[in-house]
């Protein structure tokens, strides 16, 4: 049986894929094993060669767009940069599911608007203020604020951290690691003029103080970012702000 064979010698992968929406089921496919195959390659091969009705999402295939995240053998991952060897771990087959904490549209495609709505709710956009400077701002790369912003700026919005977060599962209103990470980069952007409203937003009931510091977001972020530290920074900043207000 293919699934029981050692990975190095298996010629085919047994792949269980989630089908339909929330109340769905797993469908098993048999996919030829290829060298340097990624999990996204496997999904694409199933869709093109075996079942064209399979729904999934991808765009760039090189880890830039954040479209292709799925749950691979129980762990949220960007599938375009996850080789089958890594996704398999010690298991002998692949099990692919849509991202946790999102509404499933169909099969492996999820509805991401709630996720991005929370970026908006966390004021995750640059606010130039009423009179932005006419010239380029000079921000020294070595300044603490620039370094704090740099630490979180490479987020691609893939939703892996959001799927990994237990607090989002327990409290659906929680803004989540990605939106809070984005807010922290803007709090540290010396050009930004919107931090008063931003701090108000992230200090509200569904904001940064709900975080339990489980660090799942930091463990699974495919870009190696640490939203947990961003959230800790927001906790410190919001506490300092609240104490200043109440002398």
């Amino acid at each position: 049986m293919v699934a029981a064979m050692p990975i190095a010698h298996a010629q085919y992968l047994q792949v269980e894929v989630w089908r339909s929406a929330a109340a769905g089921h797993f469908q098993t496919f048999r996919v030829p094993r290829r060298e340097n195959q990624t999990v996204l390659d496997v999904v694409t091969e199933i869709q093109r060669e075996q079942d064209p009705t399979l729904a999934y999402r991808f765009a760039c295939r090189v880890g830039m767009c954040g479209s292709c995240a799925m749950v691979v053998n129980g762990r949220p991952r960007w599938t375009c940069r996850t080789r089958v060897d890594v996704g398999l771990g010690t298991a002998a087959m692949l099990r692919l599911e849509p991202l946790r904490n999102f509404t499933v549209v169909k099969d492996l495609a999820v509805e991401m608007s709630a996720f991005f709505d929370k970026w908006r709710d966390a004021k995750g956009h640059f606010e130039p203020g009423p009179s932005p400077p006419r010239d380029f701002a000079v921000v020294p790369p070595a300044s603490p604020q620039r370094q704090a912003a740099d630490a979180g700026i490479e987020c691609i919005g893939c939703g892996v951290c959001y799927a990994a977060c237990d607090v989002v599962a327990w409290e659906p209103a929680y803004l989540g690691p990605a939106a809070l990470n984005r807010a922290w980069t803007l709090v540290n952007d010396v050009r930004d003029a919107g931090s008063a409203a931003r701090m108000e937003a992230v200090a509200a009931g569904a904001g940064c103080h709900l975080c339990h510091t489980h660090m799942s977001c930091t463990q699974f972020c495919p870009k190696g970012l640490a939203p947990t530290y961003a959230i800790a920074g927001l906790k410190r900043a919001t506490v300092a702000r609240a104490l200043r207000r109440r002398p």
Partner: protein, 109 residues
């Protein structure tokens, strides 16, 4: 949880860290040389320092416990909104009344 609740929970936890340590020390001291209620009460009766310690302890508990319980209930049940906040506010008052009553009883015993 808002920033104010977060601060209240952390600050009360800091107070509790000291109060629990003092409480454990008090237990060890109070039970030496006889474990009967009368013997323990004889050593704690009229001790103002103990009354202050346990009053602070009780107030910290009355702040800390309802906030933590609120978080647990919000994460594990569908209970939300004003009724939850009022119920846990009352729970905090209940803890405070019962605790202060006990601390005073030990002082007066």
């Amino acid at each position: 949880m808002t920033a104010v609740l977060f601060i209240a929970q952390r600050a009360s936890a800091a107070v509790l860290a000291i109060a629990v340590t003092a409480h454990l020390a008090t237990i060890i001291v109070a039970v030496r040389s006889g474990l009967s209620a009368a013997e323990v009460a004889a050593r704690t009766h009229g001790n103002t320092a103990l009354l202050i310690l346990y009053s602070v302890f009780v107030l910290a508990v009355a702040v800390h416990a309802p906030i933590g319980l609120r978080n647990v209930l919000r994460e594990w049940t569908a209970w939300r909104g004003r009724s939850l906040d009022v119920a846990l506010g009352l729970f905090g008052v209940l803890l405070m009344v019962l605790g202060l009553r006990a601390a005073l009883a030990v002082f007066l015993a």
